[in-house]
Symmetry: D4
Subunit: 253 residues, 8 copies
């Protein structure tokens, strides 16, 4: 596991070149310090770890949080967290923990994140029913150090409301557009700006909505330039992409 | 078949009541003059017959046209007609025949239709690729006696173009909105007017468009009031509904 | 916001033309009185606001009703309202409130709506199981000032029942046809009348019904003229389109 | 293979019981005369063999016909046969061969089939475009010895035409109902008769027809009693089921 | 409504021929005794009415049963009936009522049905999990007067079990084949018999079963002759078709 | 049923050859000792019977277990078993019973299974959420006598973790790869080994996951060689295939 | 249209305030210089116009190119352009035109674009069959002024090839990942980098690939952070998003 | 790239340990001899390379073959190869090349493959239309050194034919089961054997077959043990899995 040791042993004749070769041939998969690519499920710039809480017991989430905190100085974010879970963690976890109810997010903040001070991310949503998903995106973005401007309830069926916030949208570095039902918001927004739009279809709606499929297809078929799409209801996923883009625009990535 | 005859025969004792009853019991399905409900595939107000030409040979279409013309004073409209078909009909059919190339419609006009002089129908389409379907709707509407205003190429990705024609759209009695790809046009238009919007999804697009399914779902899930949808690429169907509505608004139905 | 003021200031030299231009250039999206197009989620002729109650808490619905009533003289309609919600509103909302149980609608009537006295709208439904959706359409239509004739339980599998009400259907200005399972009612009705038919597929059925998809596809593929379709179970949406059409026929739109 | 021989050998001590047992243990799958259940792809009562011609070369079809004729006295039916194929067979096959163009069927008749003289099978179809499939069913039924009454072009959008043939439909032993687009014909027919209705969805239509899926779902979801469905465009399959039922009604099965 | 009266009045000069004509012209849809075609939702031979109980309250079902019994001498069958419903009906309905638990059927028998004494219907099912649907078919068939032979738990994965009951299957007039998961039973059975097979896909299974879709598609695509399919889990529907066929075979239809 | 007896009777003239023939002709389906192919739902090498417990009552499962144990020396495995079921069985079943909680498996071990001592089966899973399915596979494999190496939580988004266990994977005789969400694990693993990979898509995920469909399609479309797929969440099914393969590699099948 | 003129007229009393108000009330939709948001179908930074050539005749494309060039100094890009189209344009269009065969792109370069000199965009593709789509993305990116590094044929089934280019991928500002079949590439790449990954599913594959649906679902369900998806085969769309992100990273947006 | 050289340089002091470390840290992705895992698209035991020819030009395939042959002693297999392609290769490629027409496979054999002498693989197919896919599997298996027994045209609709070959199937080490339409063959076969069954759905069929989807779902939902499935029409993929299993059974993997 210690390549330096192998090299030293070779140098000092404690290890034959053939033996060293045999050990090293296994290296790619065993011995290299993988830390540099060990960013799986971790948002790198913000030193944050993320836990998807839905479907886990309170005890399981607590244990995961504790283990992560032990491993070092990081912030732990829990998505899809109920208020009950928050209260359980608050009581049982060492140190502070915050709760963002509309976004269903808990956050155990332990270190300061690197900020993206230049510009902002706009989070735009179509209806009040899309709020949960939009807030998930907005809060994640804020925790990761981005300025966020929320432009909510601006669906295309009342398009003038969208226009009265055009400035906040056009001046953003990147826009997260959240919409269910017919999902046309992403196209309309992308037609009005020259920045990337990360579109989040939501499962809001009924009938031939098919749990978000209609909004998803609408967004994928957008005839406007600059739209890329994440999974249905995946506010978190959109926030991470938007955070990366905003960090690039801030020279932080 | 002649009920009057039956009644007269009963009256004149040529037919017993029992025999008359037996004949009459078959009436509902045999003897009543069905003309009054025989409007199948016929557009009633305009005295027009319609033939779906796609998949029929030139000879078949000619024969159908000839038979219809024989049956009486009507206008015959052929939809999905190629230019070749038109030329064949022109050469072989007695009397004049018109061709609308963009709409792929042939029309053998034989009688004047009742006009709908008050107001107009707006036909709005998103992209140049939707033109065929939009023109099918527009030409059918005109042949049936409606004033039509075309507002083409006003997709939501360049929404200002839509706004510069708002007047023609808002003042219409009914709007036909034709759009492929993400199909958001119907929602945006319906959000701007207080008239019924007949939405036509088109199969224009590629990838996860699934031959018009994405636009269809978008339109069905419209969060704006006043949208009803017809089948994919069915410009003709939308025109008939819009024509009925405009006729009602003109007191003609 | 007050353009007149800007013009007066320009006229009176209180504002330079350049400064006025700068303000006005922002107008389209900020300053124009949007009231005239602010009909989003509002049914214009009837001065009515509509709230989709499903998925909202009783407190949320109450707050929305109160805020709307404050804003002025309108009628507030709540769709998908449980009896519990109605009782909660009755106790807590200032003024009267009505409940239509079969339709799951609450209505706080505050002003008289403009009537559509000429003719009526027929609401036709296939099975008793489609009643909820049919009643949603019928009640909304009545609240908005339309005469409604209900023709229920006339599915195509017992088509004579449909025929015994043919008069009420043929004499309507517009027909709302509600059907689940195989959804053939819309085609049969449209084949018998010369008025627009707004078809509502319902999610009633089981097996390969796929939550209303079978009825939806049937209606979209109707071979009869004059059928346009709204989303699955969307009785409200059909009512709004039918109301617009009936208003046009009454010269009220 | 000859069990009698085995038994005789056992009896005559030419075969030990153990050896006989060993042979017999293989019997179920090897030695039993399978002829009595060897009706795969064969229509039993009519002594007919059926070949699905689509996708086979003319030479392949010829060879199959020749081999079948050699094997004995049977009638060979080829479905989905082009006129070219027919002409090729006519020229190259020994003996007579008939062609039914609308049904795309070739038939080399070699023996008389047992007739079903009592009653008839009604083949009902919705539109002229469904003709091919309806004729495939009708011709197969006739070749197999059934009386057939054709009731074509009686779609639900012009339901009175259906009624004017009610007698032929109600008096049939079994009805084959062929319809594309919205496929409602099967339900309407089943609501008017007390006999089994074999429904054949066709791929006729466009847009959200999805190659016959809409008609298929409609028929499966029929709210009328007595409907069973075969695969899309499978006129042959419906004919076989209807033939079996008519044979049962004639005491021939 | 009384045509005889009209004829008598004409005869006796109490009614002019013109007035009589006007009344009669409405006849098809109003006055004819529809009893002869009023077999909607009624199984004719057995004088039985059927109620789909699922989704109805106990009070609603009771009321429907009472009303039907009042209307005359019929047997009332309730499908998808819970044991609780049965106990409620037993207590509150006048007269006897039977319950078939596995089939979830209640039956208020009031008259004797016409029997189909010749031959039997085989109900074949693949797994124990398909039992409910198979029993629904079997009990309905028995109530309607058919001999039924049950051959259960004979899925294709243990095909020898099917063979050990081949006799009961091959000697039936018609077979109802019930299967979920891969649904191959219908094909295998149809390959072994020369009688019609009514196939019922069930929603039994998990994963890519998609609530019965896999079995449905399998059955529709059967390469064996003589298979027709009803909706997923629709044991009742299959029973009605099978009853009609068996009645035809008994000369009872 | 006793063929030897028949042969002896024939030999001893107690039975005529004709009578023997008649009995034997029924043999294939009645009399042959089917034990040799009666392996339906039974895993042959391990002498184990398997019961799918989900959807059965505790009493039903108990009865099945008791009946199976009576029939002879076998091990009975119950899949999808809740802890409550286990406790019920423990109390009521004669003899020992084990419970594997993560795998939701109960096992009443009565006999020793034949081991597969050479090599092992690797069970690889992508996320902690796939654990249930992976454990179902792993425990079934162990009960059936295979060595199992578990390599869990090695999803492709952190591919280095997969590499650090490459040895255990590459040296396996067969690999079971369990993954939900995007399901890419099977391809990556198959690209790294030269052994068969049995892929199990899981229903883990949300949004456009469609209950495992996305993972299923991914695995079916794998561009790596050596991947075969079982149904969504079917850990048991994968284990049986893998057990067969490992038994073949051990010369045990 | 000239607001300044209106203001001057008001000031000079040539226009009453009321008249001015009336004109201005129409402004938002008519008179404002929309140039600043008129970026529909235009890639803003690069002064480029884009034409989707597929489905247009050579004459139509030529006309569009000519009209665009007339309108001013821009570069015109044609996507999905055949070699024949290129040759036609080369002959008939004034000025130079380039062709990129693998990418099916024509480009009439007329002005210099603003470069993004810092860093590069990596275009990664899974198989040789995905080349067309990958090249479409790469060439568009280059025309718009980005440095592009191509990393082709690095599918997950041979993951080491991906690793040997890790440097080019990890050092990119943004990655375009193109993959058909199982589409796992995007997840694997996103697991190895901390930059946004724009995923393009391709329709490459067969069987249960469903024209790219399997790759699309895989990418949407990616369990790795930082993935956003565009439509199937939409290399152009991915390029535009990636170009925007790279421009932001270069301070150019 | 030459690790040995690095080690020697370290030993001989030509390279410092730190420098060596830096180089080696890049190793996993750059320098390790990947040959040992470079089995992507290569079938290891048989030293064979495989080219998917469909969609490639004759020139491209030739070039790929030449390059592969140059790289060393391997056999090159081309799948989905037309006869024209074969003739082109025969003329232009150095050395022999074989063609298997029914399987659409070309093979340039250059080395002897290691045989799997013990036992055989059974390739079972349902209909003549599945032949292409079955032969693709069979020929690949033979080229890779396996004994193959073909059992063709044994669909479940004529199940006795399957039984008459039971011996060849039951004695195989592994079975490849190929079936379109309802795809039930895999279940039936798996119910009769105790060996793994690799199921290949084919796109053969029409109507609700949906290009093989029905057979695919049937096979995934098999209620028999021991079935694993590959993609639609993927005879090659099934052959590779079956070859691996047979090699394991022969101690060759």
């Amino acid at each position: 596991m210690d390549i330096r040791k192998i090299l030293e042993d070779v140098k000092e004749d404690k290890l034959s070149i053939d033996e060293a070769l045999k050990i090293l041939s296994r290296l790619p998969f065993e011995d290299i310090d993988f830390a540099k690519i060990d960013h799986h499920r971790k948002i790198r710039q913000g030193m944050s770890e993320v836990v998807f809480c839905e479907g886990k017991t309170e005890q399981q989430v607590l244990k995961i949080f504790e283990r992560m905190i032990e491993k070092g100085e990081v912030n732990i974010i829990g998505t899809r967290a109920s208020k009950e879970l928050y209260e359980y963690l608050k009581e049982n976890l060492k140190g502070d923990i915050d709760y963002y109810e509309a976004a269903r997010i808990v956050c155990a903040k332990r270190v300061e994140v690197k900020k993206n001070p230049k510009g902002h991310v706009a989070v735009v949503s179509a209806g009040t029913a899309d709020l949960k998903v939009a807030e998930e995106a907005a809060i994640i973005l804020e925790i990761l150090g981005n300025n966020v401007k929320r432009v909510y309830d601006v669906g295309v069926a009342g398009i003038h409301r969208l226009f009265s916030h055009l400035d906040e949208i056009q001046s953003a570095n990147v826009i997260v557009a959240v919409a269910g039902m017919e999902g046309a918001l992403a196209s309309v927004v992308a037609g009005l700006v020259s920045k990337p739009v990360i579109a989040v279809p939501t499962s809001v709606g009924y009938g031939a909505n098919f749990k978000g499929l209609s909004a998803l297809l609408t967004m994928l078929n957008s005839c406007a330039n600059g739209v890329a799409v994440v999974n249905i209801d995946n506010g978190f996923g959109a926030a991470v992409v938007a955070h990366m883009i905003n960090s690039l625009a801030n020279g932080n990535l």
